[in-house]
């Protein structure tokens, strides 16, 4: 019960805050000093949130498509020769700090939303690829055998058997990617992307704790909600196949 009610309450509180941040001003007032404003008003919090979510959604969608296609390519036909290399690159790539990837994208793409998107895409590719690969290559042998023996063509096997069976792991990869992207997008505001990081950084620069707190809370609740939603979808997909 609590697992369902808490996220719902957090979501409602978040929605109320974004629609009418002003009415929450008394809550944040104790965290300000020298009569500084309690609520960030330079840009509307709602539009920053939407822009933040749009960047993350776009990056996650792109990483998912690309990661899945790559995983499909290296698990069949001539692509198999790339499999050991792909595993190594994925393992090494994940040691690259997301912040460093973001910073390195700036010289190539300049400031703005572009480098953030590219960094999120590149970094998000790895968990999706890794999980899709695990999902596609760890199928139960009798199932794969039965699919072949019943006369499914390779394409039919991919769409009707391999991909549906890999779904729970793919969702887990998307969850990791979404949560990492949400956090890294926050730092994206240091390279002038329009995200909620703007509020936190404004707070840090002006020593206004209220800003830091509201920016952090909004991003934090979003992250927990997204994590929760993906996990719920994952559990459903796994239950359907009797894995849990």
């Amino acid at each position: 019960m609590i697992r369902r009610i808490l996220p719902a309450l957090a979501g409602l509180a978040l929605l109320a805050f974004l629609i009418s941040p002003g009415s929450f001003a008394p809550l944040f007032q104790p965290f300000t000093r020298n009569n500084a404003p309690a609520i960030y008003t330079q840009t509307s919090l709602l539009s920053l949130t939407l822009s933040h979510l749009a960047i993350v959604a776009l990056a996650v969608a792109a990483s998912t498509v690309a990661g899945l296609v790559l995983a499909i390519l290296v698990t069949r036909g001539a692509g198999r020769e790339f499999l050991p290399l792909a595993r190594t690159v994925t393992a090494v790539g994940q040691t690259f700090p997301p912040v460093a990837v973001l910073a390195l994208a700036v010289p190539v793409l300049g400031f703005g939303t572009g480098p953030t998107l590219v960094a999120l895409f590149l970094y998000g590719l790895l968990p999706v690829f890794e999980n899709a690969l695990a999902g596609l290559s760890n199928q139960p042998a009798p199932v794969a055998e039965a699919a072949r023996a019943m006369g499914l063509t390779p394409r039919q096997r991919l769409w009707q058997i391999d991909l549906p069976l890999a779904l729970p792991l793919l969702l887990a990869g998307m969850r990791l990617t979404a949560v990492i992207s949400l956090g890294t997008a926050t730092i994206g505001s240091t390279v002038a992307a329009r995200t909620l990081g703007e509020v936190i950084i404004a707070g840090l620069l002006s020593s206004n704790t209220a800003f830091v707190l509201q920016g952090g809370l909004v991003v934090g609740i979003l992250a927990v909600l997204i994590h929760h939603a993906f996990q719920a979808a994952e559990v459903r997909a796994r239950r359907r196949m009797g894995l849990d």
Binding site: F82, T88, A91, V92, P107, V219, G220, H227
Partner: protein
């Protein structure tokens, strides 16, 4: 027509693209955009180009031996790096101390192509664990040797380094202290916590649930919130300030990294202990060991590989996340990254980002080798 090794063909395409693109950027000063200069325009450039191209193309046939692949890839990396250094000392007119020479797309693509070639060759060679340690040590020594030789001193990143040598040392120390300090604290707190929830099953859900949420909170938000929280603690709890608690400086960053590290340590401790086969545990009890003896002599040693895997996750994660400390005045390599971004001085960004990446990479590989070593010992 010999059978081709498809990955090598991919590396050759990346590398040849790198040869065609400008190797370096020549800029009038550290802020303005510059113009690209190709390898061919440098002294000996055409010969080096020919050599690198040959190394890339020769590796394409499947039967090319793996040792030769490895040797030519390492040679390619060294050659590209030395040409970068040479460009930096050759291109600026004498006496012009403002001009900068920075690595450009061609250089990065060559590094990517030969780096992938190294990885591929190592995959094919399947070296023993000991040999892999030697390879890692050799790579670190080679990189350190080239940096110390002064051959790269003209390159823009090294020029940034030269003007803040002392500061770089301090920030490097701060970065390492943050990453390793938070790891140490997380192990001190996390292993006992993991043992506790292994013993008391009903605490598992709540403890892991809270740690999961902590891990989900974006880093900048957590770092930012630590400042007011710890500031309040320092101001209100008697004796906290004397104990080192503070809302400014390195402390908030350290606490934030510590909180992030808890989940991997606790959950892997639990997984490692739960992974010990029941017959092993029952045999230990049956031989008359006490609870504490079973834990210390049987369970923990067998859980070691899983625990080390947590150390790897935490260390690599914290080396990366410590960059964000630079944003809240916590020091570390992040200081250069965010200063550089603020001044649009990309050379300064690189001065922060490159050591961070190198550190994370070496720590990741070293701990992977360590984990494999203990796995073999346990099996």
């Amino acid at each position: 027509m010999p059978r081709l090794w498809p990955p090598a063909v991919l590396f050759a395409m990346i590398g040849l693209a790198g040869l065609a693109l400008p190797l370096v950027q020549f800029k009038a000063n550290r802020i303005v955009p510059g113009e690209g200069v190709g390898l061919a325009a440098l002294p000996h450039g055409p010969w080096v180009m020919l050599g690198l191209g040959a190394a890339l193309v020769l590796a394409c046939p499947d039967r090319w031996p793996a040792v030769a692949r490895l040797a030519s890839a390492v040679a390619g990396l060294i050659a590209a790096t030395l040409m970068l250094g040479m460009a930096a000392s050759h291109l600026p007119p004498a006496g012009n101390s403002l001009a900068r020479v920075a690595p450009a797309s061609g250089f990065w693509l060559l590094v990517l192509a030969f780096g992938l070639m190294v990885a591929d060759a190592v995959n094919r060679l399947r070296p023993s664990l000991a040999l892999r340690w030697v390879m890692l040590a050799g790579a670190v020594a080679l990189a350190a040797g080239i940096l110390a030789s002064g051959l790269l001193d003209g390159v823009s990143v090294m020029r940034e380094y030269a003007t803040r040598r002392d500061l770089f040392g301090r920030e490097a120390q701060a970065h390492l202290a943050l990453a390793f300090g938070s790891l140490g604290l997380a192990l001190l707190a996390g292993i006992p916590l993991g043992i506790a929830i292994f013993q008391v099953r009903r605490w598992r859900g709540p403890v892991l649930g809270v740690l999961n949420i902590l891990q989900t909170i974006p880093s900048l938000a957590l770092f930012g919130m630590m400042i007011p929280v710890l500031g309040w603690v320092a101001a209100t709890v008697p004796g906290a300030t004397q104990a080192g608690v503070s809302g400014i400086g390195t402390f908030p960053a350290l606490v934030a990294l510590f909180l992030y590290s808890l989940l991997p340590v606790v959950s892997n401790t639990l997984a490692g202990l739960s992974g010990v086969p029941a017959p092993t545990r029952e045999a230990a009890v049956g031989l008359g060991m006490t609870r504490a003896q079973v834990m210390a002599q049987v369970l923990l040693p067998l859980a070691l590989p899983v625990l080390l895997a947590a150390v790897r996750i935490v260390l690599v994660q914290n080396i990366g996340l410590a960059v964000i400390a630079g944003l809240i005045g916590g020091g570390g390599f992040g200081t250069f990254v965010f200063q550089g971004l603020g001044q649009t001085a990309m050379d300064l960004v690189l001065l922060g980002a490159l050591p961070t990446i190198a550190l994370a990479l070496v720590a990741g590989i070293a701990l992977d080798l360590l984990v494999q070593g203990t796995r073999r010992g346990a099996a």
